[in-house]
């Protein structure tokens, strides 16, 4: 969505920031499952946590609808 309300170098910086944060998730996801599997013996607790993450992300995405007005004329 940054590409929809930003353009040029600031958009690139904004996208780079989001991609970097998302890559941290790529590191955290499998690591969390592994650690919790060793701790609890099953995947269940880790899956509950990941399901919770997905729900929070969904709520934040719904909240994003309000900022659509920030869209530039080109977007």
């Amino acid at each position: 969505m940054p590409s929809r309300f930003l353009t040029g170098a600031p958009a690139a910086a904004g996208i780079a920031l989001v991609v970097t944060i998302a890559n941290v998730g790529g590191f955290a996801g499998p690591t969390i499952i592994g650690a919790m599997k060793d701790r609890f013996g099953t995947h269940g607790p880790a899956f509950m946590l990941l399901g919770g993450c997905a729900v929070v992300a969904a709520l934040l995405a719904i909240a994003l609808r309000r900022v659509a007005v920030l869209r530039g004329p080109a977007g």
């Binding site: 969505m1 940054p2 590409s3 929809r4 309300f5 930003l6 353009t7 040029g8 600031p10 910086a13 904004g14 996208i15 780079a16 920031l17 989001v18 991609v19 970097t20 944060i21 998302a22 890559n23 941290v24 998730g25 790529g26 590191f27 955290a28 996801g29 499998p30 690591t31 969390i32 499952i33 592994g34 650690a35 599997k37 060793d38 995947h43 269940g44 607790p45 880790a46 899956f47 509950m48 990941l50 399901g51 919770g52 993450c53 997905a54 729900v55 929070v56 992300a57 969904a58 709520l59 934040l60 995405a61 719904i62 909240a63 994003l64 609808r65 900022v67 530039g72 004329p73 080109a74």
Partner: protein, 362 residues
């Protein structure tokens, strides 16, 4: 030939020449990134890796990937996309093949980190490359077509990985060693082919007529100069913009689920069903096939209604329900049916982290 004809003929030629080939490259990239999850079916017990060690080794890929993303992009602009994409593919293929020699957790971590470092810049590199070939309106569709390679890679990679694991013992190599070796070779081979097959720019494409080249070059040049009506917002303002951070958190959580699933799916399906390695591969291939359908439907509906946040939210809620279902159900077979739901979450266009780059944003 009048102008609209020239435009469509030129772009069709570009699409036929570039997109199927780039699609195959991305299938291979994805295969080599997540095949460690299939290798784990044998490797973890052969080498005595704990779940924590396997999880960390899978994830540490992203630290290398993240750290080298910016440097890789800087070099890309200097040496050109063709040579840099070739270098990326050959180096990740070599590192991926080297995974077959892993014996201890430290070497496992180092190689996974290096694999991420080697692959860094591939996706943005391809997007940058496409920007030399497509006017803005058509570029989004080209990139979207390229991205469908991710679930297609799953359809091919599942059964292929399962079959390679069944070579266990052939010529004294374990199945997981065969898997790393065989799945790395296409990356190295394609990396070499990139050098001869991909032209750097339309100007050097001998499969375009001079009229077609002129049209494309002029059209792209006109777009670049007409680009100065940007919204006045500074880089600092972009980096401190709360909406950017909100997006970051959405993608952080989406990525935790998506990659948590991607690397653990083979072990989880195995523990739920007790199937053979070959059948685990087939089950996961089928799940990816379902993903392709849902991704296309959700993407098309999202494009049609010009709406992103709700489409992403619905997909994430389905994914969350899938995770809860897998966690709670005691019936293993029922739990497996929730896995396609888990996989659905990141699939609508652009909700996988690196696909943020061009237009793939929610």
């Amino acid at each position: 030939m009048n102008l609209p004809d020239l435009a469509s003929v030129t772009l069709r030629k570009v699409t036929l020449r570039l997109i199927p080939f780039l699609f195959v490259l991305y299938i291979v990239a994805w295969l080599d990134r997540v095949n460690v999850g299939f290798a784990a079916l044998q490797m973890n017990s052969d080498l005595g890796f704990s779940s924590a060690a396997f999880g960390f080794g899978s994830g540490v890929f992203f630290l290398g990937y993240c750290l080298f993303e910016v440097p890789s992009n800087l070099v890309l602009h200097r040496v050109g996309a063709r040579r840099w994409i070739s270098r990326i593919m050959i180096s990740w293929g070599a590192i991926s093949a080297t995974m077959m020699f892993v014996r201890t957790t430290p070497t496992f971590y180092v190689l996974r980190f290096l694999l991420g470092a080697a692959e860094a810049g591939f996706f943005p590199g391809v997007v940058y490359y496409l920007s030399h070939w497509y006017p803005e309106g058509q570029r989004a569709r080209a990139v979207a077509a390229f991205m469908t390679a991710v679930p297609v890679s799953g359809v091919i990679g599942g059964p292929l990985s399962g079959a390679l694991l069944s070579l266990n013992g052939l010529f004294g190599l374990a199945g997981w060693q065969w898997l790393f070796l065989v799945e790395a070779l296409p990356a190295i081979l394609l990396g070499v082919i990139v050098l001869v097959y991909l032209p750097d720019r339309p100007e050097t494409a001998d499969w375009l007529s001079s009229a077609e080249k002129d049209w494309l070059v002029n059209r792209l040049a006109a777009e670049r100069t007409g680009y100065n009506g940007a919204i006045p917002i500074s880089i600092f303002a972009a980096l401190t913009n709360p909406t950017i951070w909100q997006l970051g958190i959405i993608f952080l959580f989406a990525a935790i689920g998506f990659y948590g699933y991607s690397f653990w799916a083979p072990l989880i399906v195995k523990s739920l069903t007790g199937s053979s390695d070959v059948n685990v591969g087939i089950i996961l291939g089928a799940i990816s096939a379902i993903t392709i359908i849902s991704m296309i439907l959700n993407g098309a509906h999202s494009d049609h209604s010009d709406e992103r946040p709700l489409h992403v939210a619905v997909a994430l809620l389905i994914s969350g329900a899938g995770f809860f279902g897998c966690a709670v159900l005691r019936q293993p077979i029922l739990a497996v049916f929730f896995l396609p739901m888990v996989h659905f979450g990141p699939c609508p266009r652009g909700s996988s982290p690196e696909h943020l780059q061009p237009q793939g944003l929610p």
